[in-house]
């Protein structure tokens, strides 16, 4: 487990994942690159259908094929390109070194299997535990994630658990082999607000204890602000903006990000209508040339409909996909680095 020279645990380069549908080729993820350092948390935000989940399923090669296909790109995890590995090798990495938490805890546990069995499956598979070891480990994990009376509850079935507890179980399962990378795909979307806070707090604590890197997919900007070091904003399969979290919130360099930030309700402003970005996300099967966000953008110019925008570097680690990235950035109060 050698550290790569730049400290990157994961490096995604020019990833393209397309789906062949009856409507044509859907470019769900189109030329995406990003890095994740060890111990850091990366947030991926975007509307539904922007390619967040597909990006992450591509990383562990779980794209349903057909119709999906990783067309090109590299996913370099700890020095090896996962896309070149044989299936068996990837299977040994899944769950062991890269674990996932899914959106809906109600359906991501097998309803016919005891909680303990499901947790044990993981460690027996990857860590070679005996039945007794795996059982003890499962109970330890359940205690870690705060399931009260874990020993007794371990032998319950999923339907006897509430949503929040099931998500805790999912987290316990994901972390039971101490993975180096945890991908949390909207882990709190299906939960109510108080449970959301608990689950996020739990992920945060466990991350600090184990030093796991985390990719957090969400459409909740509040979650991103509190949890992540870096943020990627995705739209129509592209990265629209990429920056350190604090920078992105303070000095957004993309009209889409600005729109998203404006759409967050402000509890101090009681009156007035909540802002929303007009229009709907485009159909990625029928993208026109030009900027995919152009029809909804308030900075739109004639060039936006004609030419695909450049990926402008604003500062050392702040990029934005926009013809007018510098202008938008200065408007926010930032001083873009010289071109």
């Amino acid at each position: 487990m050698a550290f790569s020279a730049d400290g990157n645990l994961l490096e995604v380069k020019n990833l393209r994942t397309y789906f062949e549908t009856e409507d044509g080729i859907v470019k769900a993820v189109d030329d995406i690159s990003f890095q994740l350092k060890r111990g850091e948390t990366l947030g991926i935000v975007g509307e539904s259908g922007s390619g967040k989940s597909v990006t992450n399923l591509s990383i562990i090669r779980l794209i349903p094929d057909p119709p999906g296909k990783i067309v090109s790109g590299e996913v370099i995890f700890d020095g090896t390109d996962l896309l070149l590995l044989p299936n068996e090798a990837v299977r040994r990495i899944r769950g062991r070194r890269i674990a996932m938490i899914f959106q809906d805890p109600m359906t991501s546990l097998n309803p016919y299997m005891k909680i303990s069995k499901q947790l044990m499956e993981m460690t027996r598979l990857h860590l070679g535990h005996t039945k007794a070891q795996a059982h003890a480990h499962a109970i330890r994990m359940l205690e870690t994630v705060g399931i009260p009376d874990a020993r007794a509850r371990a032998d319950n079935y999923p339907h006897e658990f509430s949503g929040g507890m099931r998500q805790r179980v999912m987290i316990a399962m994901a972390l039971s082999c101490e993975p180096e990378l945890l991908i949390a795909d909207e882990p709190t979307t299906a939960l109510d607000v108080t449970i959301q806070a608990q689950i996020l707090e739990l992920i945060k604590t466990l991350k600090h204890e184990t030093g796991t890197s985390v990719i957090l997919i969400t459409h909740d900007l509040g979650v991103v602000a509190g949890m992540t070091d870096h943020v990627i904003v995705m739209y129509a399969g592209k990265i629209f903006e990429q920056a350190r979290t604090a920078e992105l919130f303070a000095l957004p360099g993309n009209p889409y990000t600005k729109g998203l930030l404006r759409s967050v309700p402000d509890p101090t402003a009681e009156q007035g209508k909540l802002y929303q970005i007009p229009g709907l996300p485009p159909d990625v099967a029928r993208l026109k040339p030009g900027c995919p966000f152009a029809p909804r953008c308030d900075h739109v110019q004639e060039i936006c409909h004609r030419e695909f925008p450049p990926f402008v570097q604003l500062t050392a680690d702040h990029h934005s996909l926009c013809h007018f990235a510098r202008e938008v950035y200065s408007e926010s109060g930032g001083a873009p680095a010289a071109a």
């Binding site: 359906t107 309803p111 598979l125 509850r153």
Partner: protein
Amino acid sequence: MATNKHTDETDLIHVAPEMAVAEADVRPAEAGEFVQGTSLWRDAWRRLLKNKLAVFGLIVVGIVTLASIVGPTLIKRTFGFTPDYIPTDYPTLIRSFPPFTGPNGEFSWTHPMGTDNAGRDQLARVLQGGQISLFVGIIATLVSLLIGISYGAIAGYFGGRLDNLMMRVVDVLYSLPYVIVVIVLLSMFRSQTPRGQLTLLFIALGSVSWLTMARIVRGQVLSLKNQEFVLAARATGVSGARIIFRHLVPNTLGPVIVYATLTIPQIMLTEAFLSFLGIGVQAPLASWGSLAADGVQNIAIFPWQLIFPGVTMALTLFSLNFLGDGLRDALDPQMRTV
């Protein structure tokens, strides 16, 4: 604060009355110990017990099965004859006595169902026939479970081309009238010994009985495999075979059990039909079908030769069907209206 929250959650869960039952089952378990399943199956069992017809079916099937298993031995112990014992020392020419009647027309407990043409005890014959009929039904159903589940689950899980190919094979086999297939199979490989004939019957019935099961399981797997827990299992590195047989197949058990209980009487009926035609079970072995075939020849003179095997079979098949229907309602309440 965190601990408070958990207790609240736990309390909330246990407010529901059906969960209170589950709570009673919760006890500390030692590592690796087998722990009794909770309300999932228990619930189904409770619903089954509420269904009077199903309970009736369960009791009758239980009695018939038990009687078939221990009956012949018991009769041997009590009266000293086996089902195929042909007495040689009767004073009269006619050896078929009515129920509860001895060789001289007197009342006797020896043959509660009378005797057949050769003087064999009808009760012992019917019980032995039950043994074979039930055995044929159960074995053929087990074969259908084994082949049908694996075949259907594999086709459903892998999908695409493989699924298409596998299911077209099933369609082709389906389109053959299976009774004719079985008849052809049985007459082509006609065996000399009764045991051999019985084995052939198993093979013939088993080979056609799995088709519907494969379709049912495939349909279930198709709808299950897109659920998130399958993705979650794949994301934890579980292999394809394990996902199919440990995660998907247990989830299809409800419909599978229902269909299996309904397959048993169906197979038994087919067996009876084949034996009735004379190509199934052969003497000295007996099944309800072959007994009925013997009996129907003498129906005007010795009606009990047909009535007893016929009624026993009808009762058992009815009961199995009631039980199957009851199980369907119990395991799959949404299907009720269908």
